[in-house]
Amino acid sequence: MKEIRLHGRGGQGVVKASQIVVKAAVGAGGYGQFIPFFGVERKGSPVFGFLRLDDKAIRRNMQVYEPDILLIFDDTLIELPSVYEGLKEDAVVIINSKKTIQQLNIPSQVREVAIVDATAISLDIFGKNIPNTAMLGAFAKVTGLVDKEILLDEIAAEFGEKNRTAALDGYNRVQSTQLK
């Protein structure tokens, strides 16, 4: 089982994106689980969610405290202490950013950092910052945990064809660096 924690801001589509991942996993015959964390705030406030993927039924029903993978939709969030908290040894961080690794304060456990400018992709394609589908593309590429084609189809079905493009862009443009 892979445990993934997602961090974003209200309005960035974190929940929808995660649901798509679960759908893609289930569509491929696997198992997935997503639990959104519901705060009180609207737009712009930090939101997070917990995603699990496995090839057998997932039973635990709780937050993710020690993520294998972090998916960060907004690099301003890394200032919050909670974002990097609990990371497993050899964790993977996938982040929407224009920054360099050095600027990202990556903690020592992290094995791999993948950076993608999902905001730029999204601004390009939609004219606004909804980085979620581009992030999904990056996620598929970096982790290999979901089938790329199934994911793209789910994205297109849910959000329309433009988003397939965004996801593909994310897939293609993400830059991965092994730290260990």
């Binding site: 705030e41 737009k43 712009g44 406030s45 301003t76 606004k128 910052n129």
Partner: protein, 91 residues
Amino acid sequence: MSERKHISPIGQEGLYVLDTASWRTHRPVMDKNTCVECGICLSYCPVNSIIFNDENKYEITYNYCKGCGICAVECPKKSISMVAEGGEDHG
């Protein structure tokens, strides 16, 4: 937390304030030249981000302005324009 009494749920340890400025994608900018100081923008700002300052002028503040653009639409003189927020600076 332990000295707190937890009887009735009350809040009196300061004001709870959200950083709403970070929501802005565009910021309202006032053109002092065309502004006729009518105050209409102030009256319509939902966030009370437009103030009447010490120099007796209307002024847009950016600590909480959400960038809705209502002031720009309502200004009878079209003295306010919405300018895309640049880079990472959120007000």
